[in-house]
Each structure stands twice: as C-alpha cells, then as structure tokens.
C-alpha cells in the first residue's frame, strides 16, 4: 500500500532533482495500479498544446525538454504531473478512484474539468449502475446522489421510478428532472395512466435506456448547472453518456448475461384470527348470545356461502366475522356439496399466507452483447440487449430489446461527424392494475379479502363460471354483489392491459474546426416512440363500473400513442488562452425544440361475439378520439468560462427562450447565471499528505419555465357519447388567464470540496437556496363563480438545503481495499406565498369522501401537508369520548404530517480482496409522512393485525381517553348516573365499533415514512487472467447481486407494514399517498461479464 503511494511521489521528487537538457524523446508506459496498461491515456506538456496518447499497450512517446511538466491523464483516474528532468523513460502508474481532475459531462454534452465548475455536479459510473442489472435506470440511482429522492412505485414489472432533486419546486406539477442522453433531451414522461376503466403504471419513459450501455451519469442539481438547458432544467438534469468506441485490448467484444429472481418482500401485517362476516367476534357472542354455543351463534348470524343467494352475510366483505381456528364448521366456497347442492360445512380456518401465495417468483434474464472498434478515422460501438422479465404478479411480464449504434467519423482533421441511434422495443402482455380500484388485487387483499380464503382454491377455480341466483358469473369466494370483489386471478388472466412500445432516440452532429480553438457544432436529435395499449375485459367479469351492466359480452379499450421531441442545436465553442494566465472557454448557440404528442383512443360498450376484442365486433359504433399536443420553443444561449491560472474559474451564462405556450407579450424570457470556483490549495501550496485539494465555489442562477400547450383559451368539451342522438358540449370548468408569465426559479449555491491524505479522504458539501416564483397553478375559485379553478401565476416556494458527500479509501492494501461513500442531504421547503390572499391550496384530495384527508399547501409552511381529521382532544391531549365510549372527532381538520423527508442518504461500502469485490449500499430516509389507504381501510375492514391486537375481539376494548363534558354515567354502580366529565373512560366497546369508525380519524392512518433499507449487495469475482487468456478472453467477472434485500428499519407507526417508500403516479401530487401500493420485490441474481 505504501509503495503505491510513494511511486508517483518519488517520480515527482526525481523531476525536481535531475538536470534538464534540450528537447528529446521521452518514452514510458502508463498503467493502472492493477498493472493494466491504460490505452488512450493522454500525455501533454502543461501550458502547451502538444501532446499524445498512449497506445494499445499503454506505451507513449513524447518530445519534451527538461523543465517541462508532463501531465498524464485518463478518464476515471487521477491526473499526475511529472517534471522532466533528465529522464529517458517515465513510467507512470495512475491511480483510480478519487480524482483531482475529473472530467464531467455538463450541459450540451460538453466535457468539462470538474474543478473548473462553480456548481455541484455528481457523477455515477455506468458500471456501478449496471452491475445489478436494474430494470429502471432511475431506481438504480437510489442512495447514490446527494440531494435526490428516488421513489420506485412498486416491485412490479414496468413500475415507474421518480426522482426529485433538491425538493419540490412546484405546487402541483412534475418535479422530474430533464433526462439528456449524449447531448439530446429524451422524454421521461411518467405515465400512470388511467383510461376510463383502468389504472395502470406504464412506467417512466427513461426506463427504456439500457443500463449496460451507459458510460456515466452526471447529475446537475441546481439551476446554475442547468441554465443552458432552459425551461425544463428547473428540476435539474440527468446527463447520460453512452459508451463509445474506444481502444480496447482484444477484439472488442463484450458479453454479459444475468439471471435474477424476484419475490415480494413487504406485505401488510394481516390478522389471522377472524374471518369475514359482520359481527361475529367472541365479544359479541358472549355479550349478546351467551346462551348459544359459538357454532350456534355463527350459524344464526354469520358468513355462509351459497349460490342461490340464501347465504347469510356471505355478502359481508369486512373481516368482522367469526373466529378462525377454533373448530367452527362453515359452508365456504370450497365446501363439497350435498345431494341437494347445498355446501357442506368445512373447517373455518385461517390461511396466513393467502396473500403471499398469490404472488409468484419473478424471473428476469438479461443478455447484452457489444462490439467495439476503433480506427484512426472512425470508431464505433454496436450493442444488442435483450431482457425478459416475468413479474411477481401472476401473468405479468416484460420483454425489452435494445439496439444501439454509436459512431464517430473523422472526415478531415477539422471535420468530424458522429451519430448515435438507439432502438428500443418494449412489450408487456399484461401490466398489473393498481391504485384504489377493485382491479388492483391489493385493494381486496388489504381491505375486503378474508383471512379464511384459500388462495390456491381461488386459483384453481378462477375460470369457473357458476350460476348465482340464476345469473352466470365468474366464480369467487363471495358470490353476492356480483359487481364487486373480482377474483384476483380472473383479473390477472382475463382483464389484462398490454403495451407495446417502439422507440428510437439519438442524434447526429457535425463538428467543424473553424480556427484553432474555435469549432462549430450542429446537432439534431430526436426521441420518438409509438406505443399501443390495450385493455381487454372478458364476459362474466365482476366489475364495479358500468361495464358490469353493459359489457355483458366483454369489451376493450385501445390506444395508440405517438410522442416525439426534437431538438436542433447550433453552437460555437471557443477555447482560447487570452493571456498566459487567463483561459477562456465560450459557447454561443441556439436551440429549437418541438414536442409533439398524439393519442388515438377507441373503446365501445359491448361486444357482439363474446370475448373477441376487435373494433369490428363492437355493438353499435366504437367511440374514437384523437387528440394532439404540440409546443415549440426557440432559444439562444451563451456561456463563458474564464480561468485564471489554475485556481480561479468564473462561469457566466445567459439564455433566452421564446415559448409557444405563453401569451405573445410574455413569450420571451431571459435567465442568467454566474458561478465562481476557487481552488485555494493551488495558492496555498499545502502539503498533499494532509490537504491535497480544496475548492470553494458559489453561484447564482435563474431558470424559467413555460406552461403546457393550449392553456390560454377556454374551450368546450364534448361530453361523452351522444345522448338521445345529440352530442353535448360543456363549457370548460377552469378559467384560463390571459397574462400568464413563465415560472422562474432563482437559486444560489455555495460549496466546499476538500480532499485529504493524497485524496484518500474527501468531502463535498453544498448549500443551496432556491426560490421559485410565479408558480403556474390552478387556483381554486368558488364554484358559485361558475368555474372551479383559474390558472394563474400564484405563489412561490423556497427550497433550502445541504448536500454532503463523503468519500474515503479506508484500506488500500495490496490485497485488501475498502472504500466508503456517504451521501446525505436535507431539504427545507417553505411556501413563501400564495396569491389572491389564499390561505391554502389543495394539491390533491387523498381520500375525499370519508375522512377528508388531502394534500395541502399553506403559506409559511412546508409544501405537502397531509391535512385531515383528528380525534377531539382536551387541553391535555387526551382523546375525548362520548358516553358510549366512542372517540369524538375534532372540529376542524389539522395538519397530520408532511410528505417530504427531513433527510435522505445512502452509504456505500466496497471491499476488494484479490479478485473478489463486495459492495453494499444501504439507503435511508428520515421522515416523510405517508397517508396509507391500506391502513385506513384495512383497519375499517378489520383485516389488519391492529384490529385483533390485545384480545379486543374477545373482550372488547376501552379507548384511552376521557369522557366529554356533560357525560352522565353510572360508573360507581349505585344505580344513579353521575357526572363523569373529564374522567378516564371506562366504557367497554366492541373492537368493531371502534375500528369501523376509524376512517373518520385520518390521523390514525398517517405513517412516519422513515426507513433504512439494504438496497444493494454485489459480490463479484474477477476470473483470473491466467485462466481466461487460454480461451482468448481478456477479462471476466462473475457476480452475485441482490437488490432491495431488506427493510432494516421502519417506524413503529407503520404497524400496517407497508413499504414506507411509496408514491402514486409521477406528479408531485402522488407523493405521500399509499394507495394499495403493489408490494416491492426482493431481487437476487447472478451475472457474468466477459470481454474478448
């Protein structure tokens, strides 16, 4: 370990001590600390333009004279300077890891030296992301980026992941950053679409990117970094650079294959003591029917299954029935029939794993093959990827094909062209249904299911069509209420949502060197996809919508989507040293962006031929709609980076946008930025043994944001299909405004970056303060105005926060290495203002009709207050109960929590021992409250553990509270009621009475979303070269990986045991709502990588 550190040091000292002569050739080999030759590493004489690169064996030759300083650099390695002082040969070992001169990709795809930047940029290497073969590139960033909160909506196939950088800047819109691949923005539309009949998570479009094809990811967090991308960069930018053709040893083929298994791993905490029914607890029995046996009591009042509608309470979907596993005999769905066709009672027993049993082991296999070639004039890379996934939900799947070509051609010394094209085909035969809908099996499982249900029997019989009260219906564990409670297997296999997507994105650019240091680039890039979605609904389905009544032969819904975004850029780069000490790098350019979306949707009421899903088979005319959206913006931008010596850097930028979505007079808006970076260690001449690098940076910037297309003029909406042969039109219920202005985010940030002990230890800390004003929001107005909302510039939000990264190489031995990284960030969000004197803004209604819980914005408070009903409490905080012993409700809703976390972070440890490598990523979140439907309704319906805890169904319960004022009760048993106001409640009530009312107390269903998760573990082994080389293989690794391995900590308020990391849909409004979230999956897999 000591040796490695000392070699460059000795070389450096040698450089100072030897004498200098005239210009001569110096040779050497550049290797990594592992002894691998570094191909294409650059060697240059500092302060001049002369330089060379190393060849395929890592060897170089350069002409230099004594006194020159040779600079050795290679992407991903620390740069070294060595003074020429008489040597003939200079062999250099470059160390990997923490780097002094890091090249990072910045706006417009321009690679910049990280030290020259005045703002925070964080880099993630592609290999780090791809090593666990993630299905979604966004979820793979979990725990890796300081200041980013990543939420994956579920563990199901195609699930969307959202990322939010530096807090919510918007009241109601999207908080998603802009995704840019190789310089061109791509779409990351998040589509948790509802058709009229379904709610499906179609994922976020960036999940199409093949992780194996990524060279690096840069995250530009603040407005400064983003100023050059304009409007859409207000939420930050994720810059993805794909792998290119580079010189490699061997024939340039890489192959990887992986196989992974998924299992659901966080399921709610169900009770297993009572089955479905109305009022069958032992408490009720003992209280009201003490003369009957429990069996007699059950037979008189509770659940019985029957097909002729004579079953008592078989229609009761809550779990307040009779006790399980105490010997009761009950007619159930799987009971055999007697000679009269009546079910013969069978044991009334619990099935503790009946939900878990519904889920299957998901299997994902991935294969990736790439070919790389490099010549003097051209280089290229061709990749082919194929991933096949079978989901944990029955009958769900995903198939993805990725094809990529990345080439660059040097036509002359001055003229270069390059092109990269990616083609993606994504197929899902069925995507699971989710949300608060009976098509989501979790709605049943977490609320209206029975703990007595045998899932295996449901599966075996889902396809049975039975006669219930003379009507043919799909079989289920309850037959009454045929429009409800579909068998989950029926939905999984019969009422499916499929999707096929074909997508192409990429760009081509031409670069011409006008003069030395001045080149002109023209680039055009596009992202285009078409997608087909189809929902089919079979005959005999149970459904709570009109379909049940109308689609008696089945029906379907079908949509074609066409989305595109095209960007054309023209820019001039000027790279010039103004004086010996002053360098300048200037970019001037213009951009044209056009986004275009088109949807064609068709559906109908009923089919003629049952279960034949074609428009030709609709009874009557199909309903067809075409909609399209287009917006255009023109922009100009300029930026200049001035560097003084190598320690002071000033970055200035200015952008002007013209957006088609804004009114004429506000169409054009400008936003500037300025940043300063100061590398004080360059001045101080510190001992690098202690302080190797130190940089202070600061900046101020603003970013504007236009609005969506067609927001300016009121329109009439066609209301459904014809009514008695007339088309109906209604006035738009929201009022447009005529003087919309762009939203502006103005941010300041300061950072300090320091590295110690030869870069063994480093930190990077950033403080930012961003104010977003002129927020474009729909402001509710009184309905009595004839309208419901008004789109306005009305409000401002401030986000302040700290981001911290710590990097350390704790052990760096010959055999053993240990690196540790920590990311931590906190964001403080405050609503500075709501216009029009608004005292509140409802962002969304979580749970309108019952407890009135909603997500709110209040001036002076944090964005995203969960606002809902509470218990009535006295001044001591005791719950007030009435004389029946029931809690009273508070008069007004209160803030029950805030959805944004207090802080988030991740710790990554990497251990290396000989060829073995072990990486573990733990990520965590403090705070971030969640309103849980599963908890709210699951408690109401008596299916959760809390509703049986402490013997309350056997003995009743006493609410911990005090009697309300004026309560007269005979507590002392003297036959005369006395005033017990304020006394401790002693009245026993049934568990059912309490919990069935619990929906009125929203506070009961708010969960503190803190968690610690073991996010990732990768154990890899580099196969020895001696072994591989015999087979002409250059390198190979085999790795065992796991994702989402364990929920190590969750708050005690999460007694329902949902995944605290939830969101519903891609907009900010879905934050903090658990709406029957599909369970997450634990993944274990094996991956093999080979290089030829």
């Amino acid at each position: 370990m000591k040796l490695k550190l000392t070699i460059p040091f000795i070389l450096l000292i040698m450089g100072f001590t030897l004498h200098s002569f005239g210009q001569r050739t110096i040779k050497g080999t550049i290797t990594s600390s592992e002894g691998e030759p570094l191909i294409g590493a650059s060697v240059s004489i500092k302060g001049t333009t002369s330089g060379t690169i190393s060849d395929i064996d890592g060897k170089y030759k350069i002409k230099a004279k004594d006194g020159d300083i040779l600079q050795f650099s290679y992407i991903g390695f620390n740069t070294q300077d060595i003074k020429v002082d008489g040597q003939e040969t200079i062999d250099v070992i470059l160390t990997q890891g923490i780097q002094l001169d890091e090249l990072v990709v910045t706006a417009l795809g321009i690679k910049r030296d990280k030290k020259a930047l005045g703002y925070a940029v964080q880099d993630v290497k592609g290999d780090e992301v791809s090593e666990t073969n993630p299905n979604n590139i966004v979820s793979a960033l979990s725990g890796r980026i300081a200041g980013a909160q990543i939420v994956t909506s579920s563990g199901q196939v195609g699930a969307s992941s959202t990322i939010k950088i530096r807090g919510n800047k918007t009241f109601t819109g999207s908080a998603q950053p802009l995704f840019v691949v190789d310089g061109t923005p791509i779409m990351n539309s998040i589509s948790s679409a509802r058709s009229s009949t379904t709610y499906t998570d179609f994922g976020n479009a960036a999940m199409d990117i093949d992780p194996s094809n990524i060279e690096s990811i840069s995250v530009l967090k603040g407005a400064s970094a983003a100023a050059l991308y304009g409007s859409r960069a207000a939420n930050g930018v994720i810059l993805i650079t794909t792998k290119k053709g580079t010189k490699k040893k061997g024939i340039g083929i890489e192959f990887s294959t992986s196989l992974a298994f998924d299992d659901v791993y966080i399921l709610p905490n169900y009770q297993n003591e009572y089955g479905q029914g109305r009022n069958g607890s032992e408490y009720e029995w003992k209280l009201k029917y003490p003369d009957l046996t429990y069996q007699e009591f059950h037979d008189k009042r509770e659940f019985k299954w029957a097909l002729d509608g004579s079953g008592r309470r078989m229609d009761w979907d809550e779990s307040w029935g009779s006790r399980l596993d105490v010997g009761l005999m009950v007619p159930q769905m799987d009971s055999p029939l007697d000679e009269n066709g009546k079910p013969i009672p069978t044991p009334w027993i619990s099935h503790p794993d009946n939900v878990k049993d519904f889920y299957e082991t998901g299997i994902t296999s991935g294969n990736n093959l790439s070919f790389t070639s490099t010549g003097d004039k051209a280089s290229g890379r061709l990749t082919f990827g194929y991933t096949n996934q079978k989901g944990t939900s029955p009958n769900t799947d995903q198939e993805k094909i990725n094809l990529g070509i990345n080439t660059d051609i040097k036509l002359t010394d001055k003229l270069k062209v390059d092109a990269n094209v990616n083609y993606i085909q994504l197929n899902n035969d069925n995507l699971p249904q989710q949300g608060n809908s009976m098509r989501n099996p979790l709605l049943e499982f977490n609320s209206w299911f029975g703990r007595q249900v045998d899932t295996k029997y449901l599966k075996e019989h889902y396809n049975d069509i039975v006669l219930f009260n003379g009507d043919k219906k799909a079989f289920n564990w309850m037959m009454a209420y045929p429009s409800q409670h579909p068998n989950p297997y029926w939905n999984a296999y019969k009422n499916t949502m499929s999707r096929e997507r074909n997508r192409i994105f990429g760009n081509t650019s031409i670069n011409y060197q006008l003069f030395k240091g001045v080149d002109l680039t023209a680039r055009i890039g596009t992202d285009f996809f078409n997608e087909h979605r189809k929902f089919i609904y079979h005959k005999y389905s149970r459904d709570w919508t009109n379909l049940y009544e109308n689609a008696t032969n089945g029906t379907f819904w079908e949509q074609y989507r066409l989305q595109s975004e095209t960007n054309a850029d023209l820019f001039l780069k000027i790279n010039k040293n103004l004086t010996d000490d002053l360098s300048m790098f200037t970019t001037l350019g213009a951009n044209y962006t056009e986004t275009f979306n088109q949807y064609a949707t068709t559906n109908g009421t009923n089919l003629i031929v049952a279960d034949f899903f074609s428009t030709s088979n609709f009874e009557g005319e199909p309903i067809v709609s075409f909609t399209k959206y287009k917006s255009v913006s023109n922009s100009v931008f300029g930026s200049t980076n001035l560097g003084y010596k190598s320690f002071l850097y000033l970055d200035l930028s200015l952008r002007g946008d013209w957006s088609s979505t804004l009114p004429r007079e506000n169409r054009n808006y400008w936003y500037p930025s300025a940043n300063l970076g100061f590398i004080f260690t360059e001045l101080l001449n510190m001992n690098p043994d202690i302080l190797s690098y130190g940089k202070l940076r600061g900046g101020i910037a603003s970013v504007g944001n236009a609005t969506s297309a067609y927001s300016l003029n009121p329109v009439f909406y066609s209301i459904g299909t014809t009514f008695n042969d007339i088309n109906m039109f209604g006035v738009q219920s929201t009022l447009p405004t005529y003087d919309l202005k762009p939203e502006i985010t103005t941010s300041k940030e300061f950072g300090l970056e320091m590295k110690f002990f030869y870069n063994r230890l480093g930190f990077d800390i950033t403080y930012y303060d961003a104010l977003t004003t002129n927020q474009l929001i729909y402001v509710d107005i009184p309905y009595s105005s004839g309208y419901s909302a008004w789109k306005k510039n009305a409000g401002s939000i401030r986000n302040k926060g700290i981001e911290l990264q710590l990097n350390g190489t704790i052990i760096e031995g010959n055999n053993l290495t240990w690196d540790a990284n920590l990311n931590w960030s906190t964001n403080n969000n405050k609503i500075e203002e709501l216009s029009d004197g608004l005292e509140e803004l409802q962002i969304t209604s979580f749970y309108g009709s019952y407890s009135g819980t909603s997500l709110m914005a209040f001036p002076g408070k944090e964005w995203g207050a969960i606002y809902g009903n509470t218990f009535a409490r006295n001044e001591n905080g005791d719950i007030i109960v009435d004389k029946r012993g029931m809690p009273q409700s508070g008069d007004d809703p209160e803030i029950l929590g805030y959805v944004n976390p207090d802080w988030v972070g991740g710790i990554r440890n990497t251990f290396g021992y000989k060829g073995f490598n072990l990486t573990a990523l733990v990520d965590f979140r403090k705070g971030g409250d969640v309103f849980s439907y599963s908890k709210a309704i699951g408690q109401h319906a008596g299916i959760l553990q809390a509703t049986v805890e402490g013997g309350i169904r056997e003995n009743g319960m006493i609410v911990d509270g005090v009697y309300e004022n004026g309560t007269m009760l005979d507590l002392n048993g003297d036959g005369e009621p006395e005033d017990v106001s304020g006394q401790k409640n002693e009245t026993v009530i049934a568990a059912r009475t309490y919990w069935r009312s619990s929906r009125n107390w929203g506070e009961l269903s708010v969960i503190d979303g803190s968690f610690i998760k073991l996010r990732e573990v990768v154990f890899s082994y580099s196969i020895p070269k001696s072994f591989l080389n015999k087979m002409n293989i250059q390198g190979g690794t085999i790795s065992l990986f796991g994702r989402n391995l364990a929920l190590l900590y969750t708050d005690e308020s999460n007694d329902v045991h949902i995944d605290p990391e939830v969101s519903s849909g891609g907009t900010v409004a879905g934050t903090g709502l658990e709406s029957y979230q599909l369970p997450p999956s634990r993944t274990l897999g094996l991956k093999l990588n080979l290089k030829f």
Binding site: S718, I726, S849
Partner: protein, 468 residues
C-alpha cells in the same frame, strides 16, 4: 461574437406561427347553443338524480342504505356535488346558452334555458338557502367572488324571470328553434310553456307560508288565465328525461349498480301498507315471502328487507323526473283549500292521486277504490294533500324534502342511529361546502348558523317552529 449572438437572437425571436401552434386542435373554442343546451338538461338531471338517492331519499323516508349507513346517519358532511354539479355547471352552461340565444335572437331557446336555470337554482336555494344569484356564474367576466342574495330576493326574481320566459316562448319559427338539443320536449314550445308555468306554481306554493299574499297572487294569476299561462294537463306533459341506457344509464340505476345497497325505507312502506296503496307494488319489491317490510332509516341491515323496485334501480333506460302533472294538481288542491283560487280542492286532490297512480299503469278500478279508502278519501284536510304529495314524490326526493320542511308532513324524526343527537326532525339544509366557505369567505352570509352540518338555519320559506 456579438454579431453571431445578435443574429441568433434574430432567428430565435421569429415566432410568427406560435399563435397557430398554440391553438387547441382538440376542442373548439365555441359550440352550437343547442348542444350546450342538451348538456344543461342532461347534467342537471344526472347530478340531482344521483345525489337525491344518497341524501334526500333517506331524509324523506323513501329509500335508505343497509350497509353504508354513514350518509343516512349524517356521520359525514354533505356532499358538495350539488354545489359543483348542479349549481356550477348549470349557471355557467345555461348562462352561455341564454346570452348566446339572446345575441342570435332565439327567444325560445333563451327562455327554455332560463327555465332550466331557475329549476336548478331553486333546487340549490332549497338545499342551501342564501346563495350567490345575481353575481353567480360570472367568473368568465372576472367576477370570482360573487356576493350572496337572500332566498326572498331570489324567489321573487324567479317569478319575474318565469313570467318573462313564458312571454318569450312563442310557437313560431320567428321566435327560434330549440334544435336537437331539446332532449326533454323535442322542441315542443307549448310543452315548455306548460313546464314554465308549472314551475311557476311550484315556486309560488313554496313561498306561500312566508309570503302568502305574493304566493296567492301568483297562483291566481297562473291558474286564472290558462290561455296565457298553460300548465300541465296530463301525464303526457310531464317534464321527464328518459335515459337512453348503454353509456347513459339512468342515475339511480347507475348508482345502485355500483354498490347495490339500496332498500326501501320503513316510513313510506308503513304508510303505503296503512293506506292500502296500490303503488307499493311499483315502489318496492316484496320479500321472498311476498310481504313488504321497509328498513328504518339509519338502521344497519340485520336481515333481508324489501328492496326498491327494479324500475328505479335496475333500469338503465329509466327516467329522471323534473316536474310532473300530479304535482300541479296537488298545488291546485292546496291553493283551492287555502282559498287562493276558486277551485274544487277535492277534484284536484283526486286528479293528482289518479295522475300519480296512472304513471304506474294502475287500473281505474284500483284507483277509484283507493280513493275511497279510509285515510285517502278527501275530507278537506291539508294534511291529506301533503301526505299524498309526499307519496307521489317518490323518486323526486329533493322536492319531497323541501315540501316536508315547508309543511311538516310527514314530521319524520332523524335517522335511528343519528350521529347528531338533540334534533327532532330530519335535516333542514346542507351546510355550504368547505370549498365555498374557504374560497368565498368574505361573502358567506354570517347569519346562516350551521349546526351539525345539517341543522341550524331554516330556509326562508321554512316557517316551522319548535323544530330543531
């Protein structure tokens, strides 16, 4: 460099076709009046039709829930869908039709849209009391915080507007056509005139206890000049919107098909049985033993009761009733008995019951024997008129609720498991929706005291005393 910059700016600022790009290609910024008119009719019926089954039907003891009893027991605050669906949508869309028709000189359409607007707003006033009226629906003109008007002012203006509408309705091409959008009367101007004046009677009789002079004068005026003020003369004139089914399911059926928890309530069943009323077979479905038994309002189902008849809850092509001929006859009977007009109360009373029974194909023999019944045979008792009106208003629960509050017949107590103790009558009104209280707080009338969401302030025309 500056030159490059300037020329780029010049190119970028070329935004010639931006207005065109930002013109919505999906939805028009204008619409034919008759198509909007159709929406006013349909939306109004759908919104009050759906909500009446949830709320008013249980207050009036007609229909209740067996499982989801929270609404019936006033546990939750009232739905805001009348406010958002009936009130908001009616004023904005009807205003568009009224002002558009006025510009086009289509006075028939202008009048018909006015009648519907008044129909909807009377419903709203009867539910909430004071509401914005003169300034309602003017958001598009920038008036987003409308002031409130008193019920008295609004009711009096209803009468004025209905008079004007009656004058404007002329069965002549020169007065304009209603177009295909008239899904209520298919362009029959005379029927619109009858609807207009029948509604006029409804408005007038409602205010008869608080402003008897005005009510009397208005009713006498209408009934005194049938040539100028034609009113409903048979069930053929009824203002009934029949739903086409398929995508447009009749609201009670649509509502029932989702939860299916609707049971006929004890009060109406008890009265129908007591009166030996033949309509029971049409309102309810007997239990399996062939008898009828209603579920007490607010009670949870502990066994099977009689359901609401399939014609109301399993009939996608059923109808929503705006106003029926029988109601007009009941108003005539009341006006006669109270001496507002010189008519025979008994004739009107019997005509009303007969009309109501005829809606259900009940035979003439059955009707005449029913009319002889001990409790039915008319003995000049106002209460009889009110009770029969309450029976006939089955499926018109909002009107039945308003009349119960005006007449105190029948004087039903609150639901059996009421969440709010200390009341002796079913609810008086709905509290204003939270959104309105928050967003239009400056204008919410301070004298409207709201108790337990549903009690407190009594609507202007509700002159009952001793009720709480």
């Amino acid at each position: 460099m500056i030159l490059v910059g300037l020329s780029l700016i010049l190119i970028a600022s070329c935004t010639k076709n931006f207005d065109e790009i930002n013109t919505n290609p999906n939805y028009p910024d204008r619409a034919p009046l008759t198509n909007v008119f159709a929406y006013v009719i349909q939306n109004l019926s759908a919104k009050f039709g759906t909500t009446e089954m949830e709320y008013a039907a249980s207050y009036v003891g007609h229909v209740t829930k067996g499982t989801y009893t929270d609404v019936a027991n006033y546990v939750t605050s009232p739905s805001s869908s009348i406010w958002s669906g009936v009130y908001r949508a009616t004023v904005s869309n009807a205003n568009f039709v009224i002002s558009g028709a006025e510009k086009e000189g289509n006075q028939n359409l202008q009048a018909a849209a006015t009648i519907l607007k008044i129909y909807g707003l009377q419903l709203v006033v009867d539910i909430y009391g004071k509401v914005p009226y003169t300034e309602a629906g003017l958001g598009s003109e920038g008036l987003v915080h409308p002031k409130y008007d008193s019920e008295e002012f609004i009711y009096n203006d209803f009468l004025t507007q209905l008079d004007k509408a009656n004058d404007m309705l002329v069965d002549d091409a020169s007065a304009g056509f209603l177009g295909d959008g008239d899904v209520l009367y298919e362009g029959d101007i005379l029927k619109w005139k009858k609807f207009c004046n029948s509604l006029h009677l409804r408005v007038a009789i409602r205010m008869s206890n608080v402003d008897e002079g005005k009510a009397k004068a208005e009713i006498a005026k209408i009934l005194g000049d049938p040539a100028k003020y034609p009113i409903f003369e048979s069930n053929k004139d009824n203002a009934i919107l029949t739903y086409p089914g398929e995508d447009w399911i009749e609201p009670w059926t649509a509502r029932h098909s989702s939860i299916g928890d609707d049971w006929i309530a004890k009060p109406i069943v008890d009265v129908l049985l007591d009166y030996n009323d033949p309509r029971i077979a049409y309102y309810a479905t007997p239990k399996s033993d062939g008898t009828y038994e209603g579920l007490a309002v607010g009670e949870s189902l502990d066994k099977l009761y009689s359901r609401v008849n399939d014609r109301f809850i399993k009939n996608p092509t059923g109808s929503v009733f705006f106003l029926k001929y029988s109601e007009v006859e009941f108003i005539k009977a009341e006006a006669a008995l109270r001496g507002f007009v010189n008519l025979n109360a008994k004739d009107a009373y019997e005509a009303a019951i007969t009309a109501s029974c005829k809606e259900y194909d009940i035979s003439d023999d059955d009707i005449s024997s029913y009319l002889q019944g001990a409790k039915v045979a008319f003995n000049n008792d106002l209460t009889q008129i009110y009770m029969q009106k309450w029976i006939s208003l089955f499926r018109q629960s909002w009107e039945a609720w308003a009349e119960m509050r005006r007449t105190d017949v029948p004087a039903l107590p609150p639901a059996v498991n009421t969440a709010h103790l200390g009341h002796n009558r079913v609810p008086f009104r709905f509290s204003y929706p939270d959104s309105e209280k928050k967003l239009n707080s400056a204008n919410i009338p301070p004298d409207v005291n709201e108790v337990d969401y549903y009690w407190g302030y009594q609507i202007w025309w509700d002159t009952r005393t001793g009720v709480q």
